[in-house]
């Protein structure tokens, strides 16, 4: 109808056709004489020509004319034709609008899903926040801190294992997959947490460890006694057990060392375990076991869980014929081979059929993914695998597997330099299947914290790297404030001490126990630096790691360049890494320079990009004092651990230039139209 309005404004008024209404119009404000009479609308009286005049006076149109007068004139061509034109213009406009809608839908690229749209935040629940003053973190504590997590612009919360389990292997020896361990709260607490997470627009994923259970799991207890269907739920084999000495069926070793076979007094057979003896492996060649695992997946999905991190996936199947594995050092005496690293594990990991199991899990999760906006995420943990084997977890273009395997290349870097960071990035980007989505982690519960591994000077640069690389950034709790490992001399726990250093309580403020708990003790001591490295203090410091993290996270959320754009990895040297982010339709380009070297460095960017301007504006810096200022591209000076996001406009984007084509990557091509504020894919 906008066209109608415009058309009408341009219509020339015809003076001939109109004159002022001479009819008498009754005044409707006259008070009613009879209070009982009905209120009636005032009608406009029509002028009636005197009977003696009809043959003399020509009737002319006037405002408010009745149909008898109107129809004498409205049928004329000069009124009928515009009327028809306006009508059909409206009809055509409707079809054009519908056509435009359909066209836009067709050319729109696939949206980023929730697991691609923003960072993930990994929480070790025992160390995040204690709400019941027992010195252990719990689910209610996580719920109390959701506002903090939201303030980091986090989209997904990842909670590591909280299942009911004895205290073995950090809760990866699960006693009941459908129960919350009492130390973390109740199932009601979990359901309330899920509701609260979704209420804030966040998503929740949890660990899932299908390979094994605890030896206290009811399944295992029934299997020991050969009860019904549980008889073959685990991998049992005959073995010799005499005089307290067990002779295993073969030379397979546990990840933690020594034989992976354990004699069971009840059943008089040996069972297989690739981790601790308290963690017997399930027999995934038994279809009933597969169904049980799917049932557990459905259980948590129906609780509202948005996805899983599948752990220890490569261990799911083992060779049927129990052949010995080959020694790394063939001259070593077999009896002295006790460490996991002393064997090649060709018969206990990544067996034929293992990926089919993962795909089957994926299909189960797809049953819960049909509802719009409710896609269920699958990530797979991959450790100590070759690049080729890691990438297989993405699945193929015609069959779906994990959404991504977790990328620990940066998290396991011990030596930091421009070269090693570059290598970690290219290892993933060049080998990832086309169209798949990358992710990046700089730490986790199974590695030493970043600060303690490479030094606190690099925290900000690594967070900047995390948020400017393409894909999903994944942050382990505490990395946003630069928490480090704790030092421990003795512990009550029977855990491997080295594995505990990165699991210390979250440092919220500088009150006792860093604000983690009001109890007299904590399950692990807090780091001694919590008076300065804590959330409250860093909130108030403009130059803190937390403030930079929030700025980076906000930039990532706002800039299409970072979420959907091309990634062009330009150069590396002993100190620095240089790359750009760009998107067709946006003139702006982000040029990221990061110094991971031992000392300061000076970069000549004009050698790298010939048509770069001589001055570039700093959009964001690890040193907030320089934000908004300019740098000379002849000599960009970077201190140790310094990083810059430089912003400039570019006529020809790098991924269109022949010289850089091979160095540019993108998962899903898209272009942006600023006029329509639209992403489109036909470009």
């Amino acid at each position: 109808m906008n066209e109608d309005k415009d058309k009408r404004d341009s219509i020339q008024m015809s003076m001939k056709g109109c004159r002022t209404n001479n009819g008498f119009v009754q005044n409707e404000d006259i008070q009613e004489q009879d209070p009982d009479s009905r209120d009636t609308p005032q009608s406009n009286a029509v002028s009636i020509p005197a009977p003696e005049e009809p043959q003399l006076k020509v009737v002319r149109p006037y405002a408010g004319m009745p149909k008898e007068v109107l129809f004498q004139f409205s049928g004329q061509a000069r009124y009928r034709v515009p009327r028809e034109i306006l009508f059909w213009l409206t009809v055509v406009s409707v079809f054009l609008l519908i056509g435009a809608t359909i066209a836009i839908i067709i050319i729109s690229p696939k949206c980023l899903d929730w697991w691609q749209a923003g960072p993930m935040y990994q929480i070790y629940p025992r160390s995040f926040k204690d709400s019941d003053k027992d010195g252990n973190g719990d689910l209610k504590g996580i719920q109390e801190k959701l506002d903090y997590i939201t303030a980091l612009n986090i989209k997904t919360i990842w909670i590591t294992s909280f299942y009911k389990s004895p205290l073995k292997d950090f809760r990866y020896a699960v006693e009941d997959f459908k129960e919350i361990d009492p130390i973390f709260g109740t199932m009601k607490d979990f359901e309330n947490l899920v509701a609260a997470v979704h209420d804030k627009g966040l998503k929740l994923i949890i660990d899932f460890i299908p390979n094994h259970t605890s030896d206290k799991h009811p399944w295992f207890q029934s299997s020991r006694t050969r009860s019904g269907k549980y008889t073959d739920y685990y991998i049992w084999h005959n073995c010799t057990h005499a005089n307290g000495v067990t002779t295993p069926p073969n030379n397979w070793l546990s990840v933690y060392g020594n034989s992976s076979w354990q004699f069971d007094e009840e059943r008089k057979q040996c069972y297989f375990h690739q981790f601790l003896k308290e963690q017997p492996d399930l027999n995934f060649r038994n279809p009933a076991v597969q169904e049980e695992i799917k049932e557990i997946i459905k259980f948590w999905l129906s609780k509202g869980v948005d996805g899983f991190s599948f752990d220890a996936v490569k261990f799911l199947l083992e060779a049927k014929d129990l052949r010995n594995e080959i020694q790394v050092n063939t001259s070593q005496i077999p009896d002295t081979v006790t460490r996991y690293s002393e064997l090649y594990h060709d018969f206990t990991t990544t067996q034929v059929g293992m990926h089919d199991l993962v795909r089957d899990f994926r299909q189960t999760m797809n049953q819960f993914s049909r509802e719009p906006g409710r896609y269920r995420f699958m990530g797979t943990e991959v450790s100590a695998e070759s690049t080729e084997r890691t990438m297989v977890y993405y699945g193929l273009s015609f069959i779906q597997e994990a959404d991504f395997p977790f990328n620990k290349y940066l998290a396991t870097l011990d030596t930091l330099s421009g070269h090693t960071v570059y290598e970690a990035i290219t290892s993933w980007m060049e080998n990832m299947p086309e169209g798949k989505w990358p992710n990046w982690m700089i730490g986790g519960p199974e590695t030493s914290r970043l600060t303690s591994r490479v030094g606190s000077e690099y925290v900000n640069a690594m967070n900047m790297l995390l948020f400017t690389l393409p894909g999903t950034p994944i942050t382990y709790y505490g990395e946003e404030i630069g928490m480090g490992d704790i030092s421990i001399t003795n512990l009550n726990e029977r855990y491997d001490t080295n594995a505990l250093l990165s699991k210390s309580p979250m440092q919220w403020d500088n009150s006792s126990n860093a604000g983690f708990t009001e109890a007299n003790h904590t399950w692990l001591p807090t780091n001694s630096d919590y008076h300065t490295v804590n959330v409250d203090v860093q909130k108030t410091q403009p130059s803190s790691a937390l403030r930079l993290y929030q700025d980076l996270s906000l930039l990532h959320a706002r800039e299409l360049l970072l979420s959907r754009g091309w990634f062009c990895l330009l150069r590396d040297d002993n100190h620095s890494v240089v790359y750009t982010r760009e998107l067709d339709g946006i003139d702006k380009v982000f040029l990221v320079v990061l110094n991971f070297g031992e000392s300061s460095t000076v970069l000549n960017l004009q050698e790298t990009i010939s048509d770069v301007p001589t001055k570039l504006r700093i959009r964001l810096s690890t040193n907030p004092a320089s934000k908004g200022s300019d740098v000379d591209t002849h000599a960009v000076s970077l201190e140790k651990g310094e990083g810059l996001i430089l912003e400039h406009s570019m006529k020809t984007l790098l991924h269109h230039q022949k010289a850089f084509r091979d160095k540019c990557f993108i998962s899903n091509r898209a272009c942006y139209s600023s006029v329509l504020d639209l992403l489109y894919s036909s470009c």
């Binding site: 009408r8 015809s14 405002a63 149909k67 109107l70 009809v91 979704h198 719009p372 896609y375």
Partner: protein
Amino acid sequence: MAMDIEKKIYLKRQLGYFWGTNFLIINIIGAGIFVSPKGVLQYSSMNVGVSLCVWVFCAVLSMTSTLCAAEIGITFPYTVAHYYFLKRCFGPFVAFLRLWTSLFTGPGVLASQALLLAEYGIQPFYPSCSAPAVPKKCLALAMLWIVGILNSRGVKELSWLQTVSMVLKMGILSFISLSGLFLLVTGRKENVRRLQNAFDAEFPEVSRLIEAIFQGYFAFSGGGSFTYVAGELKEPSKTIPRCIFTALPLVTVVYLLANLSYLTVLSPQELLSSDAVALTWTDRVIPQLTWSVPFAISASLFSNLVTSVFETSRTSYIASRNGQLPLLCSTLNVHSSPFIAVLLDVSMGSIAIVLTNLIELINYLFFVFSIWTVLSVIGILKLRYQEPNLHRPYKVFSPFLFITAAISLSMVLIPLIKSPKMQYIYVFLFFLGGLLFYVPLIHFKLKLIWFQKLTCYLQLLFNICIPDVSDEHVAEEES
């Protein structure tokens, strides 16, 4: 031309019981029942039993306020009866302010409904994120213009569309309801257990309970809409009560069964996690149909858009007939449809769609509607006292008047207490603007010569004329 001259052009009494019932059902069932269960359950502290009781209570409240509107529509059987009523009770200025409010909220409603319709229609193609604004606005404009064209063709030609839409709305909800009953009867353990333990959750506190009632009450809103068509209904004193006592119980039963079905299939937590509960429900029960639900909701909203244009255009038409809007708005086309009024509303709605910030401003005015409801109740009581002998074929039960007034007063006062002051300064300025229009143009009847000429030309261009029969005659014929 001879046939055209013979055919009388006026708003005719040609709508019967069936049409009226459809009209009411369409007005009441909007998008609310597909999303409101979440709000009601949330403010009932996830107490299933309490939330079902809230729905029953909302139905009763809705019935009381609808019956109050019934007395107005039957005593004054004119199109846009509530406008006549306010004019009769409180004078032309108050009636004008009511009109002034409608002139802005009407297009706001059209724009909101059109955008919502477009969003549901497009969203299935964007499963992972919000649909971009441009295609939503394009589709919303197209739908609004289609509805404008349809409304220009007259009431009779909308009837088939109304019927189809009503069947579609009731069809969706009946399907949900009956499927839920089936699942309940076949007795899967977890389904039955949920309802057996309906009252187990904690009881909500009073303030949250009130909030829950508001959430549910809005899903029932629209019951008073037949005052817009009282002048076009056959035998309004019989038709209106019959329509009310058919439509409202029917909607109540279907709403309750739908909620029962939602809660049979989904746990309270699942229901709270869902943004569109019908969607989640369908995914759970018949996954193959999940993608059809947004389209069904979209098609359902189309009929709401049709009736909204119908209602707002009649408001403009009648106000013009009473001299409070330009003469141009009191014209009808050859289909006896208030073409200019439709054109005006659709144009303003289109502007609101393009400039979506306007919708947010217009939304501030919605709480004002409760003031009009309070005034209506006061007016009914005033007339009973001042004109006890007025012909009243139907009289609403007196306590219902006070219940309705209490609800509406709380809807005025509670936001007033909670909300920031800036909003009410805005509302005050809005009414002041109305006064600035009223004094020169209506009270003193300033005539603008150029506008007279424009009126004349537009009459010829669009072939629209003053109606042949005055509304007074139509009313007299009926009684």
